[in-house]
Structure formats: C-alpha cells, structure tokens
C-alpha cells in the first residue's frame, strides 16, 4: 500500500475491516480530517494498522482530561490527518508506548505523562522535560482538578 496516500474513506474502511468492533466511532469530519475512536486495548493496534496502510507519520500526541478518564489522541498522517482517540481511566492511566513504532514519539509521550500522568509502558526515557525541577510528584497541571494560582493584577 506504500507510495500513494490513502483517502479519508479508505482510512475509515481499512480500520473497520482490521479492528472490527474495537472501532467505537469513525468519521470524516471534513476534507483531510478523520476522527477515529478506539478502545484502549486497540490503540496501538490501530496505529500499527494505519502504518501498514501508509499513514506513517506521527504529528502529535494530545491528552485531554475528560472527567473520570483521560483521553489520549494520536494525530497521524501526512496529507490526511487522522486523530486516533482512546480513553484510559484515571485510576489506571496506562498505555503501551509508541516508541517502537515511532522513535520520535518519546518526547511527545514525556509531555503527556508530565502534564496528565498517563504512563506509556515501554518508553525508555519517561523523565521530566517540561515542568520545573521542584514540581511536586503526582500533580498533573493539565488535569482539570489542578487550578493554577492566578496572580492578582497590579492596580
């Protein structure tokens, strides 16, 4: 399947074919934008399947605090940008690392780990990179229960 980039519809049908019921939702939002939701066990499988299809560039990893769970979104693709979304419960925020698929994913996983506390199992260097050295352990600033101190405006 290499050489040509798959279209939006090809991405959706390929994922449905390969993963079946694990694809909770798949939609073409607009031209060159696909949003896919898979269950946690099939997050990496979905990315492997997409890589086989030729969607083989990881643009970013986003983490979103969605109340009881944390959603992790992998933005993959070149022309067509596919957002593969999954949710992990806050009590057990673990996902397999993508470093063996995309060595450059290391720094993105570090960011999501630091900001939202999602542990990527298999990342060789899940260490502090963005927060201050004296940042307390177990405090994840991008979670909704963390409220930054707002300095009083000068008057």
């Amino acid at each position: 399947m290499k050489g040509r980039e798959p279209s939006e519809e090809e991405v959706v049908s390929w994922l449905r074919e390969r993963l079946g019921g694990a694809v909770l939702d798949a939609r073409v939002a607009r031209k060159r934008r696909v949003f896919v939701r898979v269950d946690r066990e099939h997050f990496k499988t979905a990315l492997i399947a997409l890589k086989e299809l030729g969607v083989d560039f990881l643009e970013a990893l986003t983490g979103v605090d969605a109340g009881d769970s944390i959603e992790v979104i992998a933005h993959v693709g070149r022309s067509v940008s596919v957002a593969v979304e999954t949710a992990v419960p806050k009590g057990d925020p673990r996902l397999p690392s993508l470093v063996d698929l995309y060595p450059g994913a290391e720094v993105y996983e570090r960011e999501v780990w630091e900001m939202l506390g999602v542990v990527f199992e298999g990342n060789p260097r899940l260490a502090r990179a963005f927060l201050p050295e004296d940042w307390p352990k177990g405090v994840y600033p991008l979670r909704k229960d963390y409220e930054p101190k707002h300095p009083e405006p000068l008057r």
Partner: protein, 385 residues
C-alpha cells in the same frame, strides 16, 4: 546547554555527554520557559485566546494566529471572506521571509561570518518595515483576527511592498550564491549535523529539517489551509541531509515566499476583509485540528469545545518540539561522523530554534568540574584547532 531566551517558547537546556571534544549523548530539558499557555487558554474566551496564542512565539506569531483563527473558525463554522485569506497568506509569507532572514543572520554569526550577520539583519529591517506598514506592528503584528484580518492592503502599500521585495530578492540571490561558494560557510556546515532521510522520518522531523533530508513534504502543498492551491510555488527540497542543506532550503524558501507575495498582491480578489464576530460566542461541542506550515515547520493546533465560551482543551504542538528528537540524534557522534563540541551551536541552530538559547555550553568532566563557554569562544575554539 542553555540557558534560554525569554521570547522563545522552545528554550531548551541540552545536556551533553562528551568524551574529550566529541559529543556522545544528549538529552533535553525544556522546562525553563514552560509558561502553561495551554492551561491558560482554557481560562480565556476564544477571542481573548487569540492574543495569548499570538504570544506563544515572537518570531512566528503570524503562523500561530493563522493556525488559531483557522482552528476556531473551523470549530465555530465562521465563514471568512476570500480576500482575508489572501491577505493572511501575504502576511504569513512576509513573516516567513523575516524569520528565515533572522535565522540566516544567526547562522552567519555562529560560523563566524559577521558581515553576513550584519547584512541579513539589515535586510530583515526591510521586511519589518513592510510589516509595520501593513499591520501596524513590526514583530508581533496582531494582523489576524477571528473572522478575517484587521487591515486591508491598498494599492500604494502594495506598490511599496513589491518594490522593496524586488530589491530584497536581488540581495537574497546574492546570499544564496555566497552560501554555495563561500569556504567559511561550507567548512562549518557541509556534512555537519547529518540526518539521514530514514532517521528524519523515524524521528518525526518537520519543516526545513525534513526537506533538507529529501522529504518533500510541506503543509502548504499537502494540506492547503489558505489559498495555496491558487498561488504557484515550489517546495524547496535538498538531499544533502546536513546543516548546509537546511540553510539552502531556507534561503530558497525566502525567494519562493517573495514570489508568492507578489503573485498574491496581483491576484487577490477585492471585497470584504472581515466577518463580524461577537466578542463572546459559543461554538457547538466538537473538536478540530488545524495544521500550518510555520517558518520552522509543521505547526499543529487542536481544540475541543464543550459548548461553552471557552475552549475545553487547546493543544499546541510547535515545530521545534517535533524537531528536538532529530536534533538530539544529530548531536550524537556515530562511527565516522564525529560531532565536536564546537559543532553543537551550528547543529542546534540548523533546526532553527532560538539560537540565543545556546549562548552558553556547560562542559562537565568526569571529576565533576564545570567550565562554561560563551558561544563566541566556541566558534574561536574551532578555528584554533
């Protein structure tokens, strides 16, 4: 390697492991200027957030506002007038010229070519003056707003832009020849900071770094977000895989950008420049992803709305973050490709972070004694060898 420059979002401490003069390992620490902008954006309305997004980066502020406005407009379903898209393209390309000229100057400074440094910064003034004429601000232009742009470009300004850029073009052609032929520049950049095409792909390099490693990928071609389908240009691709190639890509892009600006000035349709948007609005629940080719590479913004007047989550992935793994790989000596400490500024500079960040290098020997070098001393050290 640090410290950092306050205007740059990606100021970075690079920890180097060295054996004598050779760098064997590197790691990053980007914590010094982490300002929590993503969190802050959750506390601002969409219109207020624009001003914060503009200040993510000083030099590529236009790329950030282009991405932010397109992202929010896509989320809220706001129709932007055609002319506004053309004007956004003109200002975005102008900002690219300014950014690449700045970078060219810093490269010249690092390799010890001070006269080219002066010339590049003099020429950048031409662009900044034009930016002031168009937008009112020299660096942080504040030109894009949600729904369109703030000011129109009239015929007199268009004439001024064209005549200034014609002069600039001649000079840039001269600099390109200089990069091709000058022994100083070539000695310091050719073969330095090698990144093979397969590594560039694996390490997720973007922008000029990827294009200098032969990966012909440019968001403006692959995912046109303004009116790029109607404006002719050629992505600049080199396959030398080194710092010299990255310099040539950027200089080539300046010339392409100038061509695009002139074409857009001639062909932009007339009409409205802005759709009126209320200061507080509530987009429907949903999400949106927008990508923009910033001067440093692909920039990605992701927004999620829960139906309120503020974004539920706003994510920014800047190109320098994407290029850091590649930069770390370039910094490591492997086999015959030895990386000297003196090459570090050139290599790290070749991914176009704010090079002021690399003003000092901390070298720790096995006994733990530390010695700090200024960037200039490093350059001199290379020449003394």
């Amino acid at each position: 390697m640090g410290p950092q420059h306050p205007i740059h979002p990606e100021a970075t401490l690079i920890k180097l492991k060295v054996e004598g003069e050779h760098v064997v390992d590197a790691d990053i620490d980007a914590s010094f200027v982490h300002r929590g902008i993503e969190k802050a954006l959750e506390h601002k309305t969409y219109v207020q957030g624009l001003f914060l997004a503009e200040r993510i980066c000083g030099i590529c502020n236009v790329a950030h506002t282009t991405c932010y406005t397109l992202n929010v407009e896509g989320l809220a379903g706001i129709e932007v007038p055609q002319r506004a898209l053309w004007l956004r393209l003109i200002v975005e390309e102008l900002a690219r010229v300014s950014s690449h000229l700045l970078w060219l100057g810093l490269l010249a400074h690092v390799v010890g070519f001070e006269s080219l440094f002066m010339l590049a910064f003099r020429d950048r003034e031409v662009v900044l003056d034009l930016m002031e004429e168009i937008a009112g601000g020299r660096v942080t232009s504040g030109y894009n707003v949600i729904g369109g742009v703030r000011r129109d470009i009239d015929a007199a300004t268009a004439y001024k832009i064209k005549s200034s850029l014609a002069k600039l073009k001649e000079r840039v052609v001269k600099y390109r020849r200089l990069l091709e032929e000058d022994p100083i520049v070539r000695a310091r950049t050719v073969g330095v900071g090698y990144l093979s095409p397969s590594e560039a792909k694996e390490l997720l390099a973007v922008g000029p770094v990827a294009r200098a490693s032969g990966i012909a990928y440019d968001i403006r071609v692959n995912d046109p977000y303004l009116v790029h389908e109607e404006v002719p240009f050629n992505p600049v691709v080199y396959d030398t895989c080194d710092a010299w190639g990255r310099a040539m890509v950027r200089v080539g892009e300046i010339l392409e950008s100038i061509g695009m600006i002139v074409y857009a000035l001639d062909h932009a349709p007339s009409g409205e420049i802005r759709a009126r948007v209320p200061p507080v609005f509530r987009p429907p629940p949903g999400e949106n992803v927008t990508r923009v080719e910033a001067p440093r590479g692909e920039l990605l913004h992701y927004v999620r709305s829960d139906g309120s007047e503020k974004p539920y989550r706003y994510k920014v992935r800047t190109p320098t973050l994407a290029n850091l793994p590649a930069a770390i790989s370039m910094l490591k000596s492997r086999g015959d490709r030895v990386v000297h400490i003196a090459d570090v500024p050139v290599i790290f500079g070749s991914i176009d972070p704010c090079i002021c960040c690399t003003a000092r290098v901390l070298v720790v020997n096995e006994k733990g004694a530390a010695k700090e070098f200024q960037l200039d001393e490093l350059a001199a050290k290379r020449w003394a060898r």
